[in-house]
């Protein structure tokens, strides 16, 4: 059995990418760093969909369609997040999230 013809290989790779992304979200303090980590997490989800699509799903078009939708939503999310980052930088002169505490009581 070849290594790239097994479902488990892709699932483990997706888990690894997801864990790296979660580490980035928890450890980074720059807003752009957090956005980059979120993109990694979304890609892990895409890999999962494509792997199930390749090995288990009844029709191979479904997983590809879902992956394309994930990409479109990620593009929208990146556009919004980047505009928020620019707005936050204009207000605070920094994109460190530990300085963004204006709502603290």
């Amino acid at each position: 059995m070849l290594i790239f013809n097994q479902l488990q290989t892709y699932l483990y790779l997706a888990i690894l990418l997801f864990a790296i992304g979660v580490y980035g979200v928890l450890a980074r303090r720059s807003l752009i760093g957090i956005l980059i980590s979120v993109e990694l997490i979304l890609n892990a989800a895409s890999i999962n969909f494509m792997a199930f699509n390749r090995f288990l799903a009844p029709h191979p078009a479904v997983g590809q369609v879902i992956t394309l939708f994930i990409m479109a939503v990620a593009a929208a999310e990146a556009a919004i997040a980047l505009s928020i980052i620019v707005a936050v930088y204009r207000r605070l002169k920094s994109i460190n999230i530990e300085l963004a505490t204006e709502l603290r009581g």
């Binding site: 483990y12 888990i15 790296i20 895409s46 479109a72 990620a74 593009a75």
Partner: protein
């Protein structure tokens, strides 16, 4: 000798290419979260996304692989580069890392990795009883314009709203410019 013969056979070449793609993906992801310079992070993200596109090629979907490169590497990474240029100057030194926070993040990510890995190991995955073998892009296009046409339109509306929202947010809101 036997090993070299295997390495040059089609299966061996495919396995080598797969390992290369996986290495590109993992190393890129590590650069994307671990490097100090924010610009290196974006380059690592682009490298990792190229690796993911390679995985999609191995999963029989060249169209989605090309879309991955086009949308993620071509659009999102470039947009992040613009945001970097518009925000924090690169010559400022990054703030020192808090080792406690890094350790906590490592522990959290490791826990999630262990949990999901065990879950994957314990589960038996059953393929669908009847599986179609129609992988053509034509079928994909038909699906997008018949079964999934509503989601397709809603996605385009979402992109329009996101674009307008991004313009309004980045300009500083109504009446303040």
């Amino acid at each position: 000798m036997n090993f070299i013969a295997y390495l040059l056979s089609p299966a061996g070449l495919a396995s080598g290419a797969f390992l290369l793609v996986v290495a590109i993906m993992v190393v890129g992801a590590l650069i994307a979260v671990a490097a100090r310079n924010i610009f290196h992070n974006v380059l690592g993200l682009a490298m990792s996304l190229f690796g993911v596109a390679g995985l999609f090629l191995f999963l029989n979907s060249p169209f989605v692989a090309l879309m991955e490169i086009l949308i993620y590497v071509g659009a999102i990474c470039i947009a992040i580069c613009f945001a970097i240029m518009l925000s924090q100057p690169l010559y400022l030194p990054p703030p020192p890392r808090n080792p406690l926070k890094v350790l906590g993040a490592l522990a959290g990510a490791g826990l999630i990795f262990a949990f999901l890995g065990l879950l994957t190991k314990r589960t038996t995955w059953a393929p669908a009883a009847e599986r179609s073998t129609d992988w053509s892009i034509t079928t994909l296009g038909h699906y997008l314009l018949t079964n999934y046409v509503l989601i397709f339109e809603v996605i385009s509306l979402l992109l329009l709203v996101a674009m307008l929202g991004a313009v309004v947010t980045a300009r500083g809101g109504r009446g303040s410019s």
